[in-house]
Amino acid sequence: MKLVAQRPAAVSQSISGPPSRWDYAVDRVFRLLAQGGTWLVLLLLAAIVWEIGVKAAAAVGRYGVHFVTSSTWDVGRQQFGVLPHIWGTMYSSLLALAIGGFFGIAMAIFLTQDFLPPRLANVFRIVVELLAAIPSVVYGLWGLFVLVPAMRPLADAAYHRLGWVPFFSSTLSGPGLAPASLVLAIMILPTVAAVSQDALRLVPYRVKEAAYGMGTTRWEAILKVLLPAASTGIFGALVLGFGRALGETMALAMLIGNSNHITLSLFAPANTLAALLALNFPEAGPREVEVLMYAALVLLAITLLVNLLGEAIMRRSARRLAAR
């Protein structure tokens, strides 16, 4: 059956012939639309950056680099620093990426590599994708009312037994980094799983068959042949997921504890840039708006840096793969 699917599509004779004027017109219009769409996206991004930049300019001039290296946020005394927010954003997003990425890719392998009958796999896929449709506030409430109480005994046990490990050096008082990261992991799971599935499905079946032909086991084929072949797509999935984690707002505002405190402890409250923006923007005075725009600029810069860094890592590993 799989062989049938792989047979090249039968070439029909009836549609051959020189392209008509209509074909040319369609081709041109389509190209125009596609180009226009691409430019629009770029323009939109430029407009957003411009808008934020203009509004942030005054604050950038006033606070400069000090803004990203200091950790006091005191509106009354006009002291602003976002180091704890940067720390919290990176920490929670990386943690979420590690958890959500692992499970997302594992799920994608499970659903595409014939572990399940196709129909059942489809059901699973739909269920996972449904996760993406749950509103962020619901995740926040679920985290607060279900996840935190469920985690508390585990967290307490970890603190009492392993309190000397910096990751467990405080008790979980409710909202905190660990519940926030877990919820974040669930939120990015559908993105990672869906895009990795597409990437894995795009690897030609012949490649896998060739691997089996060489005498690999199933797992060797998956880990050594399929995953590297699909790595660009999977990497794209991770970058997308990470981007979502960096920008996620409402669930985090409810769960992270919003404390400007830098610590390694998983159970301590932290803060993120997105939560800072969401919670302070509605009530901000004109001065504070400038500062918040600066914070938004920092968030954009972080996202850009992470993407560039990811791209670099990707290219390096691809080169190494090719050299082998």
């Binding site: 008082s173 939560a275 509605p282």
Partner: protein, 343 residues
Amino acid sequence: MKRSLSVLALLALGVFTSSSAAPAQDGLRLTGSGATFPFPLYSAWFKSFSQKHKGMTVDYQGKGSGAGIQDLINHTVDFAASDAAMTDEQIAKVPGGVQLLPMTAGEIVLGYNLPGSPKNLKLPRDVYTSIFLGKTTKWSDPKLKAANPGVNLPDLDITVVRRADSSGTTYVFTNHLAGVSEEWAKGPGVGTTVNWPKSDKFVASPKNDGVTATIRQTPGAIGYIEYAFAKFAKIDMALLQNKAGQFVAAGGDGGPAALASVQMPPNLRAWVPDPEAAKAYPIATYTWMLFYKDNKDPKKAAALRELVDYCLTDGQKLSAQMGYIPLPENVAAVVRKSAAAIQ
């Protein structure tokens, strides 16, 4: 847990339905926004006002005090509400001027969550300021035990829950703490957001309902919220020691006693940072509605005056029921007179 969830859901529903009510046919529609602190009361007022006055609807969105003031300055609403009265600088931005009217008053309580939920925990002044300064960190603190003989206080960390967003409630609370403690006034200070002590045990949640939910969910938590939120979520509230040394519960005669202890100045901006009366509850505050003095539309101005009148008469009867403090007679009279400035 279920109850607080449904309280949250109801509050959320209230916010949404009040903003999406259909306009009455060829009627007048007044829109307002601002403080969440009096939101439960205001939505009850405006609902019954709209029912009694055919053809008039009042929509109120609880966005937060600062947001309400911004809306008023940007002319996107007909009136606003705020816990922190508008400053002269802000008023200067509105051509024609703004009339501030105190409409009701409320108490801020310290809600707590302790295993076995002991009722009526007594908190001396120096202890609760020290808790919010991050210095008293255990429920088994000797000073707490001394103030509460017979109460089984566990050896549990105190988790302080504060507002994450900028908030009038925070302003009133920090204003009180600064009145009580020199150290607070010099340290975190007074404001709608302040620089809280850095500690693992200070967590922040958005809005009054968020803080309420977090207190309910966290054993060992203590946090400041508006009385009505604590009352409806059935959170235990501490008895606070006032300036005269008495421990007073929220929701009783303490609130009116606190208000009676200050004289209302002509600009109607009175603060009660630390009332001196023996029976006064220590953290009480007026909350204001803000109106344009020059509404450009006489019909609208008349409707707004009617609204104020309703709130001052029938409305005040609802206040106590909903957990707010009715305005003292003399204050209500002054407010009624001042409302004539809404033209």
